[in-house]
């Protein structure tokens, strides 16, 4: 058996995430921040490895047994973190395919990005009341996808250690609502404001 990865030391991922957003992020109309050069189209494995290390530093004592995310971008983050936690990843799916069993947890999610509702599904085989879950995703904005994952964890009776987010849009309500519900949310970068005309991005001090 392979040993789980050992974190290299300091928490460098937060500073690094902000730096990459400033250097490569693109602010677009409709509160869209494009970070497709390193996070959700092209993927910088080293950055995500640092994210995985940082999430492990934050949640290492939380008894995490599974890292749960939603396809597609979250899978990369979840896998890089899983090396440090040495636990399986389970990714929820966005539509029912005929390859999936009927025995599913299902939650309905409204996507602002895609302007439609979809079902999030996760096989009952892979999540139970014995689990403590770290939920990860690339973005947290309105928090609709995260709500779906929390709903699925509740259906499973699984404990939620918290959320690990690469980029939180602090000016949208998802993060505040989750924290007010008592959910631990750790975001590597929290955007306080962004301006599509100047391209300026301001981060919340953490």
């Amino acid at each position: 058996m392979e040993q789980a990865a050992e974190p290299a030391g300091e928490e460098i991922a937060m500073e690094e995430m902000e730096r990459r957003i400033q250097a490569e992020g693109n602010v677009r109309a409709g509160n869209i921040l494009k970070v497709d050069s390193f996070l959700n189209h092209q993927i910088d494995w080293q950055l995500l490895d640092h994210v995985g290390q940082e999430l492990y530093r934050l949640y290492r004592d939380a008894g995490v047994t599974r890292i749960v995310t939603i396809e597609a971008s979250g899978i990369a983050i979840a896998c890089m973190a899983a090396r440090y936690f040495n636990v399986p990843v389970v990714f929820a799916k966005k539509a029912k395919s005929r390859n999936l069993d009927g025995d599913l947890y299902v939650s309905k999610v409204k996507s602002f990005t895609y302007g439609r509702e979809y079902d999030v599904t996760l096989s009952k085989k892979f999540l139970s009341a014995a689990d403590t879950v770290l939920l990860v995703d690339d973005f947290l904005a309105d928090g609709m996808a995260m709500n779906g994952l929390l709903d699925i964890c509740a259906q499973a009776g699984a404990k939620v250690a918290g959320c690990g987010i690469c980029i939180e849009k602090g000016f949208q309500p998802g993060g505040a609502r989750l924290r007010s519900q008592g959910v631990r949310v750790e975001s590597l970068a929290i955007i306080e404001s962004m301006d599509e005309t100047t391209g300026a991005v301001t981060f919340r001090a953490q």
Copy 2:
């Protein structure tokens, strides 16, 4: 900067993949092999780390500059392999979202699993004639998704080092057709036949 991962040594991933398929795979009607406990719903990061190591052993001298896959399951494999190659991952997307630029390579793919056609898209920013690409995916069956990725590489003028596949369904035409076209295809497990009534899976000797 983090060092790229170093492969531990022997090629253990082929034997391991066959063993996991035998132990956990489920043969279903319609040539479906369910391996959702370790490959494409729940993900065993250690298995995929071994897959990444083996792909690096096979393609380490091919001058790979990018690992390209298609969402969603391929992302996990691509990320674990990227650590060894120390190159970025680019994952093609299955539908045009309004978060994507207009400047895209597009190829049409017919999915047998989902029974419909979809567009595969990849931003022109992330693939060019300067690239040598390793294409990875979880399954190779009829090869339609891989055709789409090859078409996108051709549009970009990128060189293709070859394909790295976790499970090839040898009784479906994709692998044979790609090899007859001169594409290098390396599959960790090639299924010669499978029987939905007995659940038996037979592998091709490699």
